[in-house]
């Protein structure tokens, strides 16, 4: 592909591309996916991240990540990046919080299954 097309068409801009047969797939959202959707709406209500910022945030992940992450995985990663850019959170804040949550889960599981 000529590099010119990379400039003209960002990863989300797929209208008009050749593509395969439509598979009529659907799935019930997982609990975390639904929470992620609600989070998106609340971020929009509070003008923290609006819908267009979210769309651009997903696009900014680049085509490899867009290709490999699922729909809501892309959303939550985009939210984190946008929050870093806006100075609302730092990557360190997020990393520490995720470690805490993982430790919290491990200790809860250990309590629930003492013999496990």
């Amino acid at each position: 592909m000529s590099s010119e097309l990379l400039v003209k068409k960002l990863p989300n801009d797929i209208g008009g591309d050749a593509s395969g047969k439509i598979e009529r797939v659907e799935h019930e959202l997982l609990p975390w996916e639904k929470r992620c959707h609600a989070l998106a709406d609340v971020l929009d209500f509070h003008k923290i991240i609006n819908t267009e910022e979210k769309r651009r945030g997903v696009e900014a992940l680049g085509s490899e990540m867009i290709g490999k992450l699922s729909y809501y995985e892309r959303w939550i990663v985009a939210f984190a990046n946008i929050l870093f850019q806006k100075g609302i959170l730092t990557p360190g804040d997020l990393a520490i919080k995720m470690e805490e949550l993982e430790a919290r889960h491990t200790s809860e599981t250990a309590r629930a299954h003492p013999n496990a």
Binding site: M1, N12, D13, I14, G15, G16, D17, A18, S19, G20, K21, I22, E23, R24, V25, E26, H27, E28, L29, L30, P31, W32, K34, R35, C36, H37, A38, L39, D41, V42, D44, F45, H46, I48, T51, E52, R55, V58, S63, I66, G67, L69, S70, Y71, Y72, E73, I76, V77, F79, A80, L83, I88, L89, D93, L94, K97, M98, L101, E102, H105
Partner: protein, 229 residues
Amino acid sequence: MGTVGDDNDHDGHDHDHGHGDAGHGHPHEEIFIADAPGYYDLMETAVRELLIERRLFGADEIRRQIEVLDSRTPALGAKVVARAWVDEGFRRRLLEDGRKGCEELGITFYDDTQLIVLENTPKVHNLIVCTLCSCYPRPVLGLPPDWYKLKPYRARAVYEPRAVLEEFGTRIPDDVEIIVSDSTAMVRYLVLPMRPPGTETMSEEDLGALVTRDAMIGVIPVEYPKEAA
């Protein structure tokens, strides 16, 4: 880039095992609650808790929005369509301002989006898509199906709508114009399908029961009597 058949979005594939029909209701959640939360699941919780700690919004707002999301189903859109079929004044107001028309029936819009209702006629068939992402009339239809968010539909609907419709089993005669409307963050569309023949004596409620989500996206007509699938 883009091998045909493989695409950007693979929501659900891991969990659907290839059978895409709605209504296979295994309680997937149970499996996932027992498992350790995945990386992205943790990230969602972390981002949410950090923002709540910083008082940017309250935990109750997330809970309330989940309830709002759960309350939005295609039954709302079906109610709008059925009313438009039986009430000419409402139909005109709805086509003039889709959002106001829905609000007249008590359907609130929880976001800033505008709604344009597109009327199918014997001469025009409407189809909606979001080529850039997944914009959809969520307040009246709920969340979009995965196929609406996947590459094949988004890429092809705008340049070969007849072929796309045939994949949904819908053949549009050549003398009927097809108009494809591409949604944006601010403007969403809803198709007002044609009322099927033979329904002249039906009640508004029974008419509403005929109207499906896919008919309001524009990929199938409303049928009566329903054909066996």
